[in-house]
């Protein structure tokens, strides 16, 4: 079955849909976690520590966290690989462009590929900035995420990168969530409006929720 799925364009779209939904689920949890920054360094840092102790004593320290990280890496890799292969196929299928050009499809639909690339680059920067601290501005403090977040959003480029990425994320989810539903065969004429509404609501909620943090730092609400 795995072979049939991976060899088919419809199958690869299924891989994209499922991996996309896994990442989406993670983002909802991540966004809710981020909002704890508005309740002060104590609560935020405690939450960050709790993430490492989830599942104890059954799980050892950081086991759950690493399990989630592995699942996410697999999802990102599956999503990106199928996107790359499907895009290659799409471009090959339409080598000659029309002379008479027309603006086609919605903005969210047209920006899926570039938006995806922006998000991939953002993820790399984001991990190097706030997980490993490699490219962090100022001194990165292990175990003090509150201060690290404030540091990042105190630089103009930190804000710019983050805001651009979150807007790309919103657009990506707007078309991606609805598309995933169609790929998995759960869409229908009657459900179409509901699915589009949920896609837009998720896109708006996640973008707004994530953007609240840099806006909070910029306005001095979080310092």
């Amino acid at each position: 079955m795995a072979r049939t799925v991976w060899d088919s364009s419809v199958g690869k779209k299924t891989v994209m849909a499922v991996s996309g939904l896994i990442m989406l689920l993670y983002l909802v949890v991540h966004m809710i976690g981020n909002l704890k920054i508005f309740f002060g360094p104590g609560e935020f840092n405690h939450y960050a520590h709790w993430l490492r102790t989830v599942g104890e004593p059954f799980m050892h320290y950081e086991w759950t966290l690493w399990l989630i990280r592995v699942a996410l890496v697999v999802a990102v890799f599956a999503h990106a690989t199928s996107a790359y292969q499907l895009s290659r196929r799409d471009i090959r299928a339409r080598p000659n462009k029309y002379v008479h050009k027309k603006a086609r499809a919605s903005y969210a639909t047209r920006t899926m590929r570039w938006g995806g690339i922006i998000l991939a680059l953002f993820i790399v920067w984001h991990i190097l900035d706030l997980t490993t601290g490699t490219v962090h501005s100022g001194g990165f403090q292990e175990g003090h995420p509150y201060q690290n977040v404030v540091d990042t959003f105190s630089t103009w480029y930190g804000n710019v990168i983050y805001i651009v990425a979150m807007l790309a994320l919103g657009l990506h989810i707007r078309h991606g969530f609805w598309s995933a539903a169609q790929t998995l065969g759960v869409g229908s004429r009657n459900r179409d409006r509901a699915l589009k509404t949920v896609a837009n609501a998720l896109a708006l909620l996640l973008t707004a929720g994530f953007l609240a943090v840099p806006v909070g730092v910029m306005t001095g609400l979080v310092s």
């Binding site: 079955m1 049939t4 799925v5 060899d7 088919s8 364009s9 419809v10 199958g11 690869k12 779209k13 299924t14 499907l86 196929r89 799409d90 471009i91 090959r92 299928a93 339409r94 080598p95 000659n96 462009k97 029309y98 002379v99 008479h100 050009k101 027309k102 086609r104 499809a105 639909t109 047209r110 899926m112 078309h175 609805w178 598309s179 539903a181 169609q182 790929t183 998995l184 065969g185 759960v186 869409g187 229908s188 004429r189 179409d192």
Partner: protein, 249 residues
């Protein structure tokens, strides 16, 4: 009406093509788009030039032979086939761009004529019902619920013109294939081959070099027969069901 036409001219499949400009005069608003091209071709023949090659057959909007991307739209500005598009949809003095379907699976044969036999091969892969031939069976021998019959008929309307492929930014044949799959898979007559049909037709579609679906929705907008975008969702569902069933065997 007096019009300026910019038409894709290409001598042969392996030759380079380009847009050529022609002026046509005395066009009636009641002419169909193909009759307008006939007028142009008569003039070209009288001048001893090579007429513009284009596909056409029934000229009633039911055979799927005509094609043409007119001003960037498959079958032009109205939601119908090119043969049923009338010149009243244009204004006197307009410049109209006429191009062939563009997809690597639909290579240009000459000028505006493309080879659509890739569609035939998709049909050969599973777009049929294996039934004993002979005298027509009694109409009520196999009961079909009314909603299923309507659903099948809606998809059976597909004339296989290829406008969906021409309009798709990825040159995908998902709408065409899904129309055929949905049409037969919902009916009791199509049930014995329900799984193999969708698996084989999708595999053939990939084999022909069509692109994949990114749900841009251009296909359903261009379709002269109004096959809905949700058709593709239905085919995806059938494909996943068939894949799961096949793995259990």
């Amino acid at each position: 009406m007096k019009l300026t036409l910019r038409v894709w001219r290409q001598r042969a499949a392996d030759a380079d093509g380009a847009m050529s400009t022609y002026e046509v005069d005395g066009i009636s608003a009641d002419m169909s788009f193909l009759e307008m091209l006939d007028t142009l071709n008569e003039e070209l023949i009288l001048k001893g030039e090579d007429p513009v090659a284009f596909d056409h057959d029934c000229r009633e909007g039911i055979c799927g032979a005509c094609s043409l991307v007119i001003n960037g739209d498959a079958h032009g500005p109205e939601r119908t086939t090119t043969c049923q598009l009338h010149m009243r949809s244009f204004a006197d003095g307009d410049t109209i761009d006429v191009e062939p379907w563009r997809a690597s699976a639909f290579p240009v044969v000459k000028d505006l004529v493309v080879d659509r036999s890739a569609f035939d091969r998709i049909i050969q892969a599973g777009g049929y019902v294996t039934a004993p031939t002979g005298a027509a069976p009694e109409a009520h021998a196999t009961a079909v619920p009314k909603p299923d019959a309507d659903f099948a008929f809606e998809h059976a309307e597909c004339i296989g013109c290829g406008a969906c492929v021409a309009a798709c930014p990825n040159g995908a044949a998902m709408l065409f294939t899904s129309a055929k799959v949905n049409h037969l898979n919902v009916l009791p007559q199509g049930a014995p081959e329900r799984e193999t049909r969708v698996l084989d037709m999708v595999a053939q579609m990939d084999e022909e070099g069509f692109g994949g679906c990114t749900l841009a929705g251009e296909c359903a907008t261009a379709c002269p027969k109004g096959i809905p975008l949700v058709s593709i969702t239905g085919m995806n569902k059938e494909w996943l069901r068939a894949t799961r069933k096949a793995s259990r065997r």
